[in-house]
Amino acid sequence: MVALVLTTVASWGIYALLGIGIVLVYRTSRVLNIASGEMAIFIGYVAATSIQYGLPFPVAVLFSMGAATVLGFVIFWFAIRGVMGEPPHVGLMITVGIAVILNGLMIVLFGGGMIAIPAGLPAFTTIGQVQLPTPDVVATIGAWFSIAVIAVIYRLTNLGLQMRAVAERVTLSAQRGLNVDRTVALSWIVGLLAAGLAGVLHGERSFVALSASAIGISALISCLIGGMDSLKGVVIAALIVAAAETLTARYIDPRYVLIAPVAILLVILIVRPWGLFGTVEEIRRV
């Protein structure tokens, strides 16, 4: 029972982190990132491979975060920058292309097999009377710490204010002297860092593999259930998705985990198409 709760909490953190990355880049660049799962697993592979080459876990994480920064910048600079201001479906299809490229790269560069990311810690942590699997604990702590950092940046700093300005009107922000490319690039880098960390933590809990990019779908579903314009909504919706998946896997069949969140999403789309915490305007705009 405790294990079940912890599994839910850990995947909740991972989905929320990934979802926040999606919402962040969606708000600044109006691009719905369908490739977030691939991005996460790609960075996960970087971490896994560098551990295979002998780097210790913390260094490998740092190294993969560096890779995420570079990847975020490259994706923004070479793909997203050109479609800013285009109708929303163009950005969506660009990320579809990016997902395919990343998938191909994972096969070519890393072989596409299953690799674990061992943290090199004992298998169980004992807190008080309870024994908990360490990987889940690490994933939970890592995810929630990062979510807190991102929230602070977004709400309290100038960068956050500029991101919110760009999120609303790109042209006007530039006319006010704001370097839009830089702001959006930063938001993509933050998005990629979030995604990458989610991928690494996911790998640390179980393993990275091509099929693991399905976490991106779960995160996307969380975003839609929560509403695309609300960070709070995503975090709450991620809990719903994580719980639904864990319960399906435990009591029905692990092969059909995606069915439960999909069913919830369908209900939400019928009753409240703009998401639990989204605003109605949001849906009129897209």
């Binding site: 204010l161 919110r164 006007l172 530039a174 006319q175 006010r176 002297g177 704001l178 839009v180």
Partner: protein, 271 residues
């Protein structure tokens, strides 16, 4: 007397085939108000977009000509770089951030622009949010409200206020009067004239209301089909027979009403 902004032989091609601007030249003198006026599709908006650096991002290319601002070529600058040189721009629509509060709107302008050096001629009168809120009392009352609730006039104030915070050398106002009631139109123009008078702020007004613009501008350029067809000082343009007939709707000093259907069919002349 040097020109602050100089455009020479500007040529712009849209979508590979259509030549929207066919060699426009004009200049804006330091401390003057200059009007760029003309029909829709005459190329006004394209011209100001070229100045503020927005063209290369679209399917539009500048194929010829020079744009110089304070002696420096700016044709290849990106929008934010142009803004940081002191070119402030009040766009035609979408001029404020609806989802931010009034105060945050001004804050964005303040954080976005780093004031550079001591270039002369930058209007440094307004440095803090408080200065702007003092200037526009209507805004001060709603400082912490979302700007989506502002009226048309208040939005215009907020936009101009945010521009003033960026210490502008040149204020470009695109279609200040569009969608505003006549009295508001007058007030916006008067306010621009006053900013110019009091602080020597250089203003470029882009508009279609020739009469309104010429009432405050020192110089005017009238565009048609991507070319400058009339140019000159206010007095010159106001007395020019063709300008009177085709842009001000007066003929032989008589206002022409919209009911004189007979007069509507005619051949438009150039020069």
């Amino acid at each position: 007397m040097t020109a602050l902004l100089e455009v020479e032989g500007l040529e712009v091609v849209y979508g590979h085939v259509i030549r929207a601007i066919q060699g426009i030249s004009f200049s804006v003198g330091e401390g003057k108000i200059v009007g760029l006026v003309g029909l829709n599709g005459a190329g006004k908006t394209t011209t100001v977009r070229a100045i503020s650096g927005f063209l290369p991002t679209e399917n539009v290319r500048i194929t010829d000509g020079r744009i110089r601002f304070a002696g420096q070529s700016i044709a290849r600058l990106r929008p934010y770089q142009a803004a940081r040189l002191g070119i402030a721009f009040v766009p035609e629509r979408d001029k404020v951030f609806d989802t931010l509060t009034v105060r945050e709107n001004l804050e964005v302008a303040l954080t976005a622009t780093t004031l550079r050096g001591d270039e002369p001629g930058r209007c440094r009168r307004y440095r803090s949010i408080k200065d702007i809120l003092d200037l526009f009392e209507a805004l001060a009352r709603r400082a912490d409200q979302l700007s989506v609730f502002l009226s048309g006039g208040e939005r215009q104030m907020l936009a101009i206020g945010a521009c003033l915070l960026t210490a502008p050398r040149l204020l470009i106002v695109d279609e200040a009067s569009l969608g505003l009631a006549p009295i508001m139109r007058r007030q916006v123009l008067d306010m621009l004239a006053q900013l110019n008078r009091e602080f020597g702020l250089t203003v470029l007004i882009v508009d279609q209301d020739v009469g309104g613009v010429l009432s405050i501008a020192d110089h005017g350029y009238i565009l048609e089909n991507g070319r400058v067809v009339f140019a000159g000082s206010r007095e010159h343009l106001l007395q020019h027979g063709d300008v009177k007939e085709f842009y001000l709707g007066q003929k032989e000093d008589r206002e022409r009403g919209y009911r004189d259907v007979k007069q509507y069919r005619r051949v438009r002349r150039w020069h």
